[in-house]
């Protein structure tokens, strides 16, 4: 049986950083899946995504979250990033599962479905849109403030083939 779920790259942090860039993404897959395990994030803030270095106001997001006491949703549009998490989440020791659909086509804009959170603070399900029609060749995952992903945090990008 052909392999249809393949690791593209893994980044394991040897030092604490506030952004992780996954570049040189081949266009040979149908979809992408990013899995991360974040350890010892230094403080509470948002997690943001950009594609291909585009930081113009070409992104929108919808977030549904809960903190164990209350649930809520939030909408951002025409902003310079996809926001994965916001006030609901403090990723002190958490994880995320992001699915990027049809990322390599050069006709349509790109969407992403995201699950993220940690047991100490909150959990979110969110969606994002990038208005770019280029194939996604790089993903930048960063914080919205000054916090860092700690040593030992692991980010793995998988490629998924439809055939």
């Amino acid at each position: 049986m052909p392999a249809t779920y393949e690791p593209i790259s893994t980044t394991t942090l040897g030092t604490a950083v506030n952004a992780v860039n996954i570049g040189s993404i081949p266009s040979t897959y149908t979809d992408l899946r990013l899995i991360y395990k974040a350890i010892n994030i230094s403080s509470q803030d948002s997690v943001l995504i950009n594609f291909n270095g585009d930081t113009a106001n070409n992104y929108s997001s919808t977030i549904l979250g809960g903190n164990g006491t209350a649930s809520g949703s939030e909408r951002r549009s025409s902003v310079p990033y996809i926001i994965v998490t916001n006030n609901y989440v403090n990723l002190l020791d958490g994880m995320g599962i992001f699915d990027f659909m049809n990322y390599a086509n050069t006709t349509t804009v790109k969407s992403v479905l995201m699950r993220s959170g940690n047991a100490a603070n909150s959990v979110t399900a969110s969606s994002g849109l990038w208005l770019g029609t280029s194939a996604i060749t790089s993903i930048n995952l960063r914080n919205g403030g000054a916090f860092t992903f700690g040593i030992g945090s692991i980010f793995t990008l998988y490629g998924i083939k439809a055939a």
């Binding site: 393949e6 690791p7 809960g66 903190n67 599962i97 959990v123 399900a125």
Partner: protein, 175 residues
């Protein structure tokens, strides 16, 4: 390139039913684990469904979580945060609900073989042909334990798991 998403084992409950479904001797050779559950119990304690219990390495301590849920026309957060001795499966379909309905739960476990605490994400749903007897939830859970996960047990919270309830464990390699 080698296949990196591998079915480790499927367990299907037989005609006699069972109060637990388990995996033992899980190899430490993968990066992540993905557990998919299809469950129905003989319980009658709740019209919304029974809460199954996931534990690692037969340990009943160190669990915590946050959730968002929708059930019976309402929604919120905190429906499962009482659970500290296990990770809930959400709600399993039970004997009070439409016949032959089985709940579904996806359990993704990151870096299960390293010495960090184990982060887990769950998507769970139990449907029935009812206006009120249904639920869905997603949860971010943590097992605060440095041990490699080598066993997973799913225990029914009410009655036994019925025939054809099943669990499949996948291993995922990042290289």
């Amino acid at each position: 390139m080698a296949n990196t998403y591998v079915a480790i084992q499927t367990v299907t409950v037989g005609s006699g039913g069972s109060s637990t479904i388990g995996f033992t001797s899980i190899p430490a050779t993968y990066t992540d684990l993905h557990l998919l559950l299809s469950l129905r119990t003989t319980g009658v304690g709740s019209s919304v469904g029974s809460i199954g219990q996931i534990t690692f390495n037969s340990t009943t301590s160190g669990y915590s979580l946050k959730d968002v849920y929708g059930q019976s026309g309402g929604e919120g957060s905190g429906a499962f945060t009482f659970a500290t001795t296990y990770i809930p499966t959400g709600r399993d379909d039970n004997a009070t609900q439409t016949a032959s309905t089985f709940s579904n739960c996806s359990v993704y476990i990151t870096n299960y073989a390293n010495t960090n605490n184990k982060s887990v994400f769950l998507d769970a749903v139990n449907e029935s042909n009812s206006a009120t007897a249904h639920s869905m939830a997603f949860m971010s859970a943590l097992w605060s334990n440095s041990a490699t996960i080598n066993a997973i047990t799913i225990t029914s919270g009410d009655g036994n798991y019925v025939q054809y309830s099943s669990a499949t464990l996948y291993g995922i390699k990042n290289s």
